[in-house]
Symmetry: C2
Subunit: 710 residues, 2 copies
């Protein structure tokens, strides 16, 4: 921005550093704001009572007086603030009082002077701030002042810097946003001015990483502006350096060799059943991997009918991936050889690194990998799958249902749940990856690969922490514009976060920060494990909706009410049915049925009523998605319903009409088979629940909105 | 309460009625408050400016002036309020201004005078109110003033009257409750005084049903009291009468004959398959009902090998229940005969009554039933089941898994989902009841029966509205102290409520009112259909916990984090493990495992580690419930885990130790069978989800707390 005076800020920071301070004085803070175009009240610094009176009369009474002293941080406590002085006499007396108070508070306090500030009244108090988050780096915060932010934690965060649009979304994004639009006859605040301040604060901390904390509290928001009344800025002279990042090209070069290797070596391959090195070999072979497989074991000549090598150095051809199935203590030496061989990826299955407190060994291994340009997956993982290559580089069982879902997990237990659920629900999977301690390869590396992987259409990730939250957020924002990214962030709650800490040693971030920034990144956040798995299963099957108009068609009025509840819970818009469409629906339903939305066709209807109303919903261009509620009756048994829905949906797909259709089936146990039949044909259907089908549709909508497709 | 001056309120209401007014003036409102011991600011009514000055000097300056006129309801708008008049001159001038403003607002306004009120400053503004809710009758409300109640709807409700304890729970029950305890160094408000005002308001509207709305807004809450600054009271001279209620004895007398009939007649029994009258006959016979079954059909001599009668009047013996399987229009005449026969319950399966707009027919049927002392179930239902009597009085299929869960639904579709899920999950059921239009028998009648039914241990109800919310709440409070009552209230959201309206013609209440009053009644509210069914299935299997200390024992650290999240989401307390217990757990787990809570035994452990740690949790008296996280490994396969858990839990049960144990299983598909094995043995276990087992435990805890068992 052309109007930023960076040199001025540089000078202030230098002065603060020169004095060994970490906190800016109020006048310094004000100068920083001015340098970045953030409005502050008219004010001046007085060295004497006479100067204070002159300043006050110049600025205009009434005024506020505040002590300025590097030795008095908590001004109010020290009696260093006087508000609402309305006459020259009051200002003169106030000056003396404040200075005396400061001396009483700390006898040898260095007193720079007294700040004389115009007293602003009216308007709404808000807070704009910036902090340095251990996961995400510089982030900006916005909230209303007072109890709303303190007691109700009604505050929102974004990565800094923000665009003006993102800053506006913060102003509109707090629970009490309505207050700024004017309630109880109060005039609306100047929300554009607030967004502008947020953007400027984000730019400021981005330009000056040394500013570890900026607090504009309060800002007074009035109908015609926003003024930072109090400014508090903390400096960290040696801010943490940016994490090392690889370029997109570097990541892809490595990931392509890792996910689509021409040759895989198994370090510690074994012929002995029950050993991890045996399970990995078996899974590679039994999984049908067609590349070269090189067992490495100094004590064997042959393993599973394959020639074994004493060392990877002895392998004749190139090797892309080395899967480690040896104890942690042997990893460094083996990794040196792997590196010398020019391997792209070291898959470190063994545990006994950072997760057990052995951070040194983990650092040593990373250093060896960096030296040789090897990327590490793990350590402390179950391995990984990439089904297009029939690659099961894991000690678990092979997975063979190919499809478009890529999954990753930070924890082995969750990885096994992903595997079991996928097998049970017959989910088509492109890849399952354990990332474990994430000593090197991280979720953003995986995202970068899956982004361009033609075999992947949705990415679902379980994570407990992010090593580089900013890189993840930026990558996820890019990727989620193309493919849905579902994230299950564990350690959401304070107690949960504590458990994350005890398990991985990772500092789990404040959940509200994660929540806001994941949303900013276009990620679909799953509230729980089962939700993540159901989203992964269902979202890719649904066509992308072309608009927000959802229509419920139900044979059970009771399901209609619950489906409506679920739509609202999931942020879906029940279409206001226009009169002509309402009349068209009424043509098909009994006179005591209810049109409107839900369209209640009533319980005793034959298959044709379901068919006709669903066909109408699919054919009318104003309708963008259908939620079906089925009620088991003798007239329309479950499989009859399922087959007619599959038929009519296919009929319209053949005509080029692609709308998401989900269904909730109420009935006796036959509805289970009917739901499976529907699911197999791309209609996301569940028995005995009105919540799940709508939640999956809601996830699809959240993605479509954030990807700008609606 | 001895200190209520009811006569004073009577006089005021009479005066208001005499003038044909529906709103009390401010001085009248103040007198009502005084009569019920609710503090109001010192004040007086001035007819002239001189009187106003005298009053102000007597009360103490500064004061507030407010116009008093039955013709000026919105005083502020009319310029009828002046705040903070600090001198006698200001008061005199203010009096004239206010009167002039009122005249300008409405030239012929009757001006009673000007209220001179002490200006109260400081303290926190709160609102206490009472309204007449169409579902629940008199309810009291409490919230903070300003944006918190207006924008964030941070308000809580209870049935009036409240105890002082319930009133206190309101003061502590709003989201911003912390504000009243003092934040930012502000002194705490006198919460006892606030609770006292709530109780008095509840008593007031209970004693005087004509007071349809009372608004004390604001009340100023200070450290030493609570003063109602503004009082607004609206009178309804003809309040709705209390609904007709049967005594507990009357309900039980009828319900016992209905649920355990010695003889059932089927009105409209048919030999023709596909007819409802045939399905009902078949289900009674095939279901194994051992009482008398009388088919009633004027055109048949025999149906399903039973002698058929032309009319119920022809049946030789007594009849307890008549199931109607005839079209709506024939019901009144048949019901006359049924009533003359002395039948206890008429089960009205047919639709075509209130739900299709035919309210007259429904009213006619109810009148006939009342005349004869017959209770009606329905109309517009699938019928009902009572398994201890092998009674399947329904056109659906028989249900034969006997057990302790009683279920009801307002909608047939939801009833079918209940049936299917129960069959699929093998839930032991005592009863399933369709209540449909609830023309007569309602949920509180069912509750009263199930309360004393030795075959029922948990009651789960789907409902869209309550015909008599107060009777339900009072009955549920009594019953839930003995047995868990789970409620799925459909139409939770505004859009959902609208759908409820269009379907049943019922006015769905504001959800926050429902939510608070259901909680006040000790009900476990299920957020969705699937949750209700899972609570019904799992809660009765779990022993009641003896305290709040929950311990997570997990083989997968990742599951531990998610299980911790779920515990916090469900209001469970993760036990702070005392050092000696921590040391005892560490004895059994690897050195790199994490004790604390979750107890992370790590993934590669043998069955003995699970067994030892679980046994420790069961044996230590300070631990009250266990949440298990299983990770599928070769060392401890799923069924080995399931069997050892069943063994160790049984071992402790045999020793008299009954603690709830739930489990989340992560692994390949074998965990499904293992989960079923655990469930069959009373350990609530699920595969692929960390949320569900904890949600069921949370439901058990919510019940145990509200029943006063913790």
């Amino acid at each position: 921005m052309a109007d930023y005076d960076r040199a001025a800020v540089d000078r202030i920071i230098a002065a603060v550093a020169a004095e060994g301070r970490t906190t800016l004085t109020a006048p310094e803070g004000r100068l920083v704001c001015q340098a970045y175009g953030i409005p502050t009240p008219a004010e001046g610094l007085a060295a004497t009572a006479e100067e204070a009176v002159a300043l006050a009369e110049d600025i205009g009474l009434p005024v506020v007086l505040k002590i300025v002293s590097p030795d008095v941080l908590h001004k109010t406590e020290a009696g260093g603030v006087l508000v609402g002085l309305g006459t020259a006499a009051e200002v003169a007396a106030g000056f003396e009082t404040i200075v005396a108070n400061a001396r009483a508070y700390k006898a040898d306090a260095e007193i720079v002077g007294v700040q004389v500030q115009k007293l602003l009244t009216g308007g709404q108090e808000v807070i704009v701030g910036a902090v340095t988050d251990p996961t995400f780096g510089k982030i900006v915060a916005f909230g209303l002042g007072g109890v709303l932010v303190e007691v109700l934690k009604d505050v929102t965060f974004r990565l800094a810097p923000t665009t003006l649009e993102e800053a506006s979304s913060m102003v509109d994004g707090i629970a009490a946003a309505e207050v700024l639009r004017g309630v109880r006859g109060a005039p609306p605040a100047d929300r554009e001015a607030l967004a502008d301040v947020i953007r400027r604060v984000g730019d400021l901390v981005t330009d000056f990483p040394q500013l570890s904390e900026v607090d504009l509290n309060p800002i007074l928001a009035t109908p015609d502006g926003a003024t930072a009344v109090d400014v508090r800025i903390i400096v960290d002279p040696e801010p943490a350096p940016e994490p090392v990042r690889f370029s997109q090209e570097q990541i892809l070069a490595a990931m392509n060799r890792i996910m689509k290797p021409a040759a895989v070596a198994v370090i510690g391959a074994s012929a002995e059943p029950g050993k991890i090195g045996n399970s990995v070999m078996r899974n590679l072979v039994d999984g049908g991997y067609r590349g070269e497989i090189y067992p490495i074991n100094p004590k064997s000549d042959e393993i599973l009918d394959r020639k074994a090598y004493r060392s990877i150095s002895d392998v004749p051809g190139d090797v892309d991936v080395a899967v480690f199935a040896i104890p942690a203590k042997f990893v460094p030496a083996a990794l040196e050889e792997v590196g010398a061989k020019g391997v792209a990826g070291a898959i470190l299955i063994p545990s006994g690194f950072g997760e057990t407190g052995n951070h040194e060994l983990q650092a040593e291994v990373v250093a060896i990998a960096r030296k040789h340009g090897v990327r590490i997956l793990g350590p402390n993982i179950y391995g990984y799958y990439y089904t297009p290559e029939n690659l099961s580089a894991t000690f678990c069982t092979p997975y063979d249902v190919k499809g478009g879902v890529a999954l990753s997990s930070q924890s082995g237990g969750i990885g096994m749940a992903i595997l079991g659920f996928s097998r049970s629900a017959n989910i088509g999977v492109s890849s399952i990856v354990g990332v474990g301690n994430k000593a090197d390869l991280d979720e953003d590396d995986l995202l970068t690969f899956f982004e361009q992987d033609e075999n992947t259409s949705l990415i679902a990730m379980h994570l407990e922490d992010l090593k580089d939250g900013r890189a993840f957020a930026e990558t996820a924002k890019r990727v989620s514009a193309k493919k849905p990214v579902v994230v299950l962030k564990a350690g959401r709650t304070d107690q949960g976060a504590k458990a994350a800490g005890s398990h991985t040693g990772a500092l789990a971030g404040n959940d509200k920060v994660y929540d806001d920034i994941l949303r900013q990144s276009g990620v679909i956040r799953a509230p729980g494990l089962n939700d993540m798995l159901e989203y992964a299963r269902g979202v890719p099957l649904l066509p992308t909706p072309q608009g927000e108009n959802v229509v419920i068609i139900t044979g059970a009025g009771g399901s209609g009410v619950l489906l409506s509840d679920a739509c609202v819970d999931n942020g879906l818009s029940l279409m206001e049915i226009p009169p002509d469409l309402d009349a068209a629906f009424r043509e098909f339903i009994p006179p005591f049925g209810a049109a409107g939305n839900p369209v209640d066709i009533t319980g005793g209807e034959p298959p044709s009523t379901y068919r006709n109303t669903i066909a109408l919903g699919l054919s009318d261009e104003r309708v963008h998605a259908l939620v079906l509620g089925y009620w088991h009756t003798i007239v329309t048994p479950p499989m009859v319903f399922a087959e007619l829905v599959v038929d009519v949906v296919r009929e319209f797909r053949d005509k080029g009409v692609h709308k998401p259709v989900v269904a909730s089936l109420s009935g006796d146990v036959e509805v289970e088979e009917a739901s499976e039949h529907l699911y197999r044909h791309g209609i996301v259907a569940y028995p005995y629940t009105t919540e799940k089908p709508v939640a999956v549709l809601g996830a699809k909508y959240r993605w479509a909105r954030s990807a700008g497709l609606l």
